[in-house]
């Protein structure tokens, strides 16, 4: 069985093996194999192409940008997504603007171990996809399956634009697949994770699995709910979302992010303005609570959406 984490490692291995321009840079990613072991053995397998960086996120991203301008394809690892704010300036002001300002693209991949886990607390749990998606010039990916973690990371390396790769820590070890596909949907395409006719749930990342559990529970009551896994939050596949809402007439958006300006807000804004007539009732959303992510597991499990809060919201949507 291949875990989500192993898929990420294998995608980097394949990128290193197939493209001599690829190199890896990040804290503790060399011999140690990274804080989560996403680069385990890669420094041995690819000598001179996997480098331990100093504790300097600004420099890590800045180095990647310079290398990309010179024709390389760097993949950088932030130890936790939360620490990417220390490299925020380079990501949003440099990598994201380069093509627009100069016509020269900036093909870097920034891997962000994202999202909450029990006991993670305020600085090791954040979901930052909306923050990065806000800035023009970045591609923001949120794989929710082992297969997507693998194919999307490999595809991201081939992309000419800077990619923020939000890999979810909660999925690292518990999500498993028998084998890995060679190809999959292109980046920017959403996927129907479940088909149904009564309502549409639009979600991404770890919340796909909470949503699947909620939908399984609701199926016992005879509700058939469709789930759209966005896969990529920027670009956002509005067509797939609208097509689903056209079938169901009801929309529930679910995300582990904070609500303000998040992916749920964006999806609801798009459906409301471009597909208002498709909606039978007002769209709803379930997000994390609007506070920092709490450390205590009992608080954390209420802070983030779960199968039961998603199911409860879906029931209200179905009955309205």
């Amino acid at each position: 069985m291949i875990t989500y984490l192993e898929a990420i490692r294998l995608a980097q291995q394949k990128a290193l093996a197939t493209d001599p321009r690829v190199f890896l840079y990040g804290q503790d990613i060399g011999n140690f194999g990274g804080a989560f072991k996403a680069t385990k053995n890669l420094s041995k397998e690819f000598p001179g192409r996997v480098f331990d960086a100093p504790l300097s996120e600004d420099a890590i991203v800045g180095m990647a940008i310079g290398a990309a301008i010179e024709g390389m394809r760097p993949i950088v690892e932030m130890q936790f997504a939360d620490f990417s704010t220390c490299g925020l300036n380079q990501i949003v002001n440099h990598a994201a603007t380069l093509y627009y300002r100069t016509g020269v693209p900036c093909p870097i991949v920034v891997r962000l171990p994202s999202g909450g886990t029990s006991g993670g607390g305020p600085f090791h749990s954040q979901s930052m996809e909306a923050l990065y998606a806000h800035y023009p010039g970045l591609v923001v990916l949120t794989p929710a399956t082992v297969e997507d973690a693998y194919t999307m990371l490999f595809d991201a390396v081939g992309l000419d634009d800077p990619v923020i790769f939000c890999e979810h820590k909660f999925l690292y070890n518990h999500l498993k697949a028998d084998s890995l596909p060679e190809t999959s949907l292109p980046i920017g395409k959403a996927r129907l994770a479940r088909t149904g006719r009564d309502a549409t749930i639009v979600t991404h990342g770890a919340m796909l699995h909470e949503s699947l559990a909620a939908v399984t529970e609701l199926a016992e009551d005879g509700f058939e709910i469709e789930i759209v896994d966005l896969r990529s939050v920027k670009p956002l596949d509005t067509d797939t979302v609208l097509a689903s809402v056209a079938r169901t007439g009801r929309l529930l958006c679910v995300s582990e992010e904070w609500p303000w300006g998040g992916v749920t807000a964006e999806v609801i804004a798009r459906v409301s303005s471009e597909g208002f007539g498709l909606l039978d009732v007002a769209p709803m959303r379930v997000n994390a609570k609007d506070t920092p992510v709490p450390y205590h597991p009992d608080l954390w499990s209420v802070h983030r959406p779960t199968a039961s809060t998603i199911a409860a919201a879906a029931r209200r949507l179905l009955l309205s």
Partner: protein, 336 residues
């Protein structure tokens, strides 16, 4: 000013040592609770760094500012943190200072000058500088602020910007670098290229001090001097103490990447064992007295842990889930 001008008495030494011992015993308890699956979140220990850490906390007064880092249990206790609040935070008691919202090494009580670190390394340096700046603006004098950082943390932008800004303002800041040779798995050879981290002091125009982090007397003397300099208007002080992290990065890590040569070198000495040896050798305490000190702290730690385990955990129903202090600006809108 030579370090020896900072006279450290037998009583100072023993007081510091007993805090180190308490810290060590408390951390051993945390490690065993962690292995038993009873700790919420991670456990990062300061084994081998107690002499340095206690020397920081013990030279600060009430009214000073202290922003400890992840390996500063000893300094925290010296500054006034308690076994009770430490265990409450690690065991997730609702009665802890962080109320379950943040944990463990991130605990603090800013109103008491005991700042609560964020994880992002380096960030506390400018924050403590700002606190000292405010004290100056408010007309307070004689106050100092200290914050600790690792060799890895010296590579952050915040370290550079913070130390530079503090130097420009000539603030009474003491930055203490625990140069424990590794940042997680990363050895110093991949962290910086200067001969010695102390070289950075000259670059920022601040006074530098070097200490042997395994030697309690040297740490006490160095910090006494650095704190006095800062208190007397000498501007920021950079203390670099060389030592070795004697545990994994966290309790999840076995630290097998640590070079055995370093472990066998003087850097790998255990400051607690060395200080104990010094006390016995000097005849400042007998082996029986020392054993009694240990029993005393073990019983305090064990009984406190038993008490805390019976305390309530945070209740999500009771939490107000408010990130803003002004109730009138809290938003109410449907997100679930």
């Amino acid at each position: 000013m030579p370090k020896t001008s900072a006279a450290v008495t037998q009583a100072d030494y023993i007081k510091a040592y007993r805090i180190m011992l308490l810290s060590r015993v408390l951390e051993e308890k945390l490690a065993s609770l962690y292995r038993a699956g009873m700790i919420k979140g991670g456990v990062f220990l300061g084994r081998g760094q107690e002499a340095l850490s206690v020397s920081v906390g013990t030279h600060l007064h009430r009214g000073d500012i202290f922003a400890p880092l992840i390996r500063d249990q000893a300094g925290r206790l010296a500054f006034g943190d308690t076994v009770l609040d430490t265990l409450r935070t690690y065991l997730g008691s609702q009665l802890g200072s962080m109320r379950g919202r943040d944990g463990n090494i991130h605990r603090g009580r800013p109103r008491d000058g005991y700042y609560a670190m964020i994880s992002h390394l380096g960030a506390m340096i400018p924050a403590v500088s700002g606190a000292l700046f405010a004290r100056r603006l408010k007309g307070e004098s004689g106050v100092v602020g200290a914050t600790c950082i690792g060799d890895g943390g010296t590579s952050t932008g915040a370290f550079h910007e913070g130390l530079n800004a503090a130097a420009v303002e000539k603030l009474p800041l003491i930055v203490v670098v625990a140069n424990n040779q590794y940042a997680y798995s990363t050895p110093n050879s991949r962290q910086y290229a200067c001969e010695d981290l102390l070289d950075k002091a000259a670059g920022y125009g601040v006074t530098g001090h070097k200490a042997d982090g395994t030697n309690l007397l040297d740490c006490l003397q160095t910090l006494r001097l650095a704190v006095r300099n800062a208190r007397e208007g000498g501007g920021p002080q950079l203390v670099v103490a060389d030592l070795l992290r004697l545990v994994g990065h966290g309790e999840h890590d076995d630290g097998q990447y640590v070079d055995p040569k370093l472990k066998a070198s003087p850097l790998g000495g255990d400051c607690l064992a060395l200080a104990e040896h010094h006390i016995l050798e000097q005849g400042w305490a007998t082996a029986e007295e020392h054993a009694a000190w240990r029993r005393e702290v073990e019983s305090e730690v064990n009984s406190t842990a038993d008490r805390v385990r019976r305390e309530p955990t945070p209740d999500p129903e009771e939490d107000d889930w408010a990130a803003l202090s002004c109730p009138e600006y809290r938003e109410h809108y449907a997100t679930s």
